[in-house]
């Protein structure tokens, strides 16, 4: 059985090698430092499916003494077919020495059969200091692909294309920080073009990554659905003595109810981040605080993510009409659809009225003159829509975030704009699922169905959609 392909990510220091690896391996543990020489040892990132390795990425140290290496190789040049042997001889001569530790470390996996992924920064100009690196890599005789990783704003990509085209059969532009999942997959497919025998394992790997991506999206949707289910069935209660004033205790109970709702939402966010292997997201940074600042109960959240009054009116009227219609049916139509009309009106009015309050607090009498205050479950029809809207935004940002991206999770005005308006069909489907949860017939089953609907919404978000008007 042939060895699975491996790819050594090489290049000048500080040109984004580790970022590329971090993004392709979905690994936020990769140290991406500013100082040249942050990476001093090769680090292997095998892509495995059920323990079987399909390919391996190797993060390598950058070239440090490329000209000296190149001069050594030139001094030992024989014929073109023996150039790889010259590189092997270089490794043999310096493997244990102090002079070329970085070059030995990066050339070893290549001479062991790895394909070359040469990374440069497309935002800085090409310079002659790269020539030696390019020549050394050419001498290795291994399949090579160049990646132009534009780290900054300036654009020198065309110059780089011209230079790199002379040494590499495939030259691609790939921004490790902004590349979405589709671009990552395309790049992996390009790896398969380097060598015929690599095409099939890379294709299998891509297929598995796509399936895995779908599963993660579904898992994230289930996490959000569970949170919404918990919120829609949540109660908070407090027992007070005969001498206590229940009205004075109500605000505290509502605040407690809100705090618990927010806690459920926070846990769901952490779960979604974990599902996408973002373990160290700094959520205290201002950008994420911007999301939190749009507090669940602030007007902004409700306005941006909730239903409009017209939508609320529609959903309430349909629900009420359905109940009224049952009465019409029971009397064999003798009511001339009065039940449907009245039910629709009552339903719409009740929904609009309830939309202004998060939760009702009931005061129940219990033995010994005491009273029990019970807040929830919330009958606010807008609540799950707001929670889902916020979850959509969070999911879109987390799912689209590369593992090379450092810093906080940025949620800004344009981030809100990235979400398309949820299609009416999807909106109705999730509303129906919310209804099942409120009805409480089978929370487990209803949560499962809601999860499937949300997975569809998340899938549409990732696949693009209409821009939301805010």
């Amino acid at each position: 059985m042939s060895q699975p392909p491996s790819f050594a990510v090489v290049g000048h220091p500080n040109k984004g090698k580790s970022s590329i690896v971090s993004t392709l391996a979905h690994d936020d543990s990769v140290l991406i430092g500013e100082l040249p020489g942050t990476t001093t040892r090769c680090r292997h990132f095998p892509m495995k499916v059920d323990g079987a390795t399909l390919y391996t990425l190797v993060d390598t140290p950058g070239f440090q003494r490329a000209r000296a290496t190149w001069e050594w190789l030139q001094q030992h040049e024989t014929t073109a077919d023996q150039r790889p042997d010259a590189v092997l001889a270089f490794l043999a001569a310096h493997q244990d020495g102090q002079r070329f530790p970085d070059e030995c470390e990066l050339l070893a996996p290549i001479m062991d059969g790895a394909g070359v992924l040469y990374v440069i920064d497309g935002s800085v100009p090409y310079g002659p200091e790269y020539d030696a690196e390019l020549e050394i890599l050419r001498w290795t005789g291994q399949p090579r692909l160049a990646l132009i990783n534009p780290i900054g704003e300036a654009d020198h990509i065309d110059t780089w294309r011209t230079a790199l085209g002379q040494y590499f059969s495939v030259v691609r532009v790939f921004n490790a920080v902004t590349a979405d999942f589709q671009k990552r997959v395309e790049l992996l497919r390009a790896f398969g073009q380097l060598k015929d025998e690599w095409r099939q394992p890379l294709q299998v790997a891509v297929d598995n990554l796509i399936s895995d991506r779908t599963r993660r999206r579904e898992a994230a949707a289930r996490a959000v659905a569970s949170a919404i289910a918990e919120m829609l069935t949540m109660k908070a209660d407090r027992t007070v003595g005969p001498e206590d004033d229940p009205e004075a205790i109500k605000p505290g109970l509502v605040a407690e109810y809100q705090r618990r709702l927010e806690e459920v939402e926070r846990r769901a966010r952490q779960a979604v981040e974990s599902i996408y292997d973002h373990h160290d997201l700094d959520r205290r940074e201002p950008a994420l605080e911007a999301l939190d600042a749009q507090d669940l109960f602030s007007a902004e959240s409700w306005r941006v993510f909730g239903l409009t009054r017209v939508q609320l009116f529609g959903f309430g009227a349909v629900g009420g009409a359905a109940a009224g219609g049952a009465i019409d049916l029971a009397v064999g139509g003798a009511s001339f659809l009065a039940g449907t009309l009245i039910g629709g009106g009552i339903g719409a009015a009740a929904t609009l009225f309830a939309a202004n309050k998060l939760v009702d607090v009931k005061i129940l009498s219990i033995p010994m003159g005491r009273k029990q205050l019970v807040a929830g479950p919330s009958r606010n029809r807008n609540l799950p829509h707001v929670v889902l809207g916020r979850a959509r935004l969070h999911h879109a940002l987390v799912a689209g975030r590369s593992h090379a991206e450092q810093g906080s999770l940025a949620v800004e005005g344009q981030s809100l704009d990235m979400l398309g308006t949820m299609p009416d069909g999807a909106r109705r489907a999730v509303e129906k699922a919310f209804g099942r949860l409120r009805g409480g017939r089978d929370i487990g089953e209803a949560t499962g169905r809601l999860g499937k609907e949300i997975a569809g919404v998340f899938g549409a978000d990732e696949g693009g959609g209409d821009r939301r008007e805010i």
């Binding site: 495995k48 499916v49 898992a219």
Partner: protein, 506 residues
């Protein structure tokens, strides 16, 4: 290693809830690595989720701490046993009262039929009401309240009540399950309802069995005399019609258990007068009712409760299966079991830190204005010499007395030659570098050799310069300057300076 069950129990439900709570605190990677091998072992159950999940739970339980589910099962079985014993005792006692005969007044058949036929049939109707789903009863005013009241009176509540009298360990276990039930009332409600129904039907069956056994005991070991007596306008012919209806189910195979007209007519009893039996009736004839009564108790008491117990048990099993399968979080478990384990992360932890020392000293922003200088342009940092010299004079007032090229495409020997030529000239040494390219070992080697050639105390100024879009020199970006500063500081050369040309303070 014990084998997994094929039907979930209450204990499994509790263990499942506990396991999923524990899993919520574990990382996704840990769970995937734990569950995928189990899933591969249970791949033959992939299309039978219940079996697969029970198998998974069984395996995970073996890996973890001792489960509490078995204790819940014990409590549940104990509850059933108590209900059965209580039912047997109540049935036996009731029969002993109804069949009481001390030789003075015979056992009234009408009593027996009322207690062991009519009452069970009425209770069966109530039982049927209690089974109606809420979505049906909510349309009938008051029906929900009736159902709640029946729930309160149900012997099934025994399962909850008896928990108070159990040892502490069992109480904790049950409280855990019931507490979970309160938190997720709607989720566990269906199971709770059928567990209570199953217990109540166990009691009911035991009651009827107890009564039947008691009846048979009295018949066997005493001389019961039966008659019938009622104030209602009921003659023997009418009663015969009723007994025929009641005995219809067995009359075709057990004719002796169908009372004859003669028996009915001859066993009517009036307490008025002398209160004695009809003179024509022989003592053995007074016992002729028992086959009919025994069959009534068996067919209208025991048999229906056998069926309702079977129904309750079947529905409880369905409820357990449904609740188990729809338990929040199980979809994720199934995904981990049945989906390929895809891994892309590094196997070994990150080992490297920033290896360059940041100690040492470096003169930053040396005052180079007006100094004559020898320039070494590193790696084509100033491709247009004339343009650069003009910029240098304008930005820092440096007059260039000598110009040398090193690095880039030039050989190492050329570097050394340029270095020797530069140090041979008097004046400050200025090494111009591209600010955007990081200082690499190759450059640091060059600086080290330059220091050796120039000797101590001779100033060497490193000047990182930026570039504009058209290639003209410009001030270095501060982030690039900072990087150069951090690296050069590590060299510890007190006569080395780093100067950002074009900055305001130059």
């Amino acid at each position: 290693m014990s084998t997994p069950r094929t039907q979930p129990t209450l204990g499994d439900l509790l263990d499942l809830a506990q396991q999923l709570d524990l899993d919520a605190a574990a990382s996704g990677s840990t769970l995937r690595h734990r569950d995928r091998p189990i899933g591969q072992d249970l791949a033959h159950h992939e299309r039978r989720p219940l079996q697969q999940l029970l198998g998974w739970l069984h395996r995970v339980r073996e890996l973890g701490k001792s489960p509490r589910g078995d204790r819940v099962n014990t409590v549940h079985r104990l509850g059933l046993l108590v209900a059965a014993l209580a039912g047997l005792a109540a049935g036996w006692g009731t029969a002993a009262v109804v069949f009481f005969y001390d030789g003075t007044h015979p056992v009234n058949v009408i009593h027996v039929l009322a207690v062991f036929v009519l009452l069970p049939l009425v209770l069966l109707v109530f039982f049927g009401f209690s089974l109606l789903p809420r979505r049906v009863t909510r349309f009938v005013p008051g029906m929900g309240a009736v159902q709640d009241a029946m729930g309160l009176l149900s012997p099934g509540r025994l399962q909850h009540l008896m928990a108070r009298y159990l040892p502490q360990g069992y109480r904790d276990t049950l409280a855990s399950l019931l507490g979970k039930g309160q938190a997720h009332q709607k989720l566990y409600g269906r199971v709770d309802r059928w567990v209570a129904t199953h217990t109540s039907q166990t009691f009911a069956l035991a009651f009827n069995v107890g009564a039947l056994v008691s009846c048979l005991y009295l018949i066997t070991f005493s001389d019961l005399a039966f008659s019938w007596s009622t104030t209602l306008q009921f003659d023997a012919t009418r009663l015969k019609q009723w007994t025929d209806v009641l005995s219809a189910p067995w009359s075709f195979f057990f004719a002796d258990a169908r009372p004859s007209h003669e028996l009915i007519a001859s066993t009517r009893y009036f307490r008025l007068g002398d209160g004695s039996f009809p003179a024509a009736q022989s003592p053995s004839g007074l016992g002729g009712w028992w086959p009919f009564l025994v069959m009534c108790m068996a067919v209208y008491g025991v048999l229906p409760r056998l069926l309702t117990l079977w129904l309750a048990q079947a529905r409880m099993r369905v409820a357990l299966r449904q609740t188990f399968l729809h338990f929040p979080g199980l979809d994720d478990v199934r995904m981990r079991l049945n989906s390929e384990l895809v891994e892309t992360r590094a196997e070994e932890p990150e080992r490297d830190g920033e290896r360059l020392a940041t100690g040492g000293s470096l003169t930053e922003q040396a005052n180079v204005a007006g100094l004559p200088g020898i320039v070494i342009a590193w790696s084509a940092a100033a491709p247009d010499r004339g343009l650069f010299q003009t910029w240098l004079a304008g930005a820092a007032g440096i007059a260039v007395d000598g110009w040398h090229e090193a690095g880039g495409t030039r050989s190492l020997n050329n570097d050394r030659a340029a270095m020797d030529a530069a140090v041979a000239q008097d004046g400050n040494l200025f090494v111009v570098v591209k600010a955007w390219e990081p200082p690499m070992a190759e450059f640091l080697d060059f600086l080290s050799e330059l220091r050796a050639a120039a000797g101590d105390r001779r100033a060497i100024h490193v000047l990182p310069v930026g570039t504009t879009r058209d290639g003209s020199p410009s001030v270095a970006e501060s982030r690039h300057h900072d990087l150069w500063y951090r690296v050069l500081t590590g060299l510890g050369d007190p006569w080395l300076s780093l100067t950002r040309l074009g900055s305001d303070d130059v």
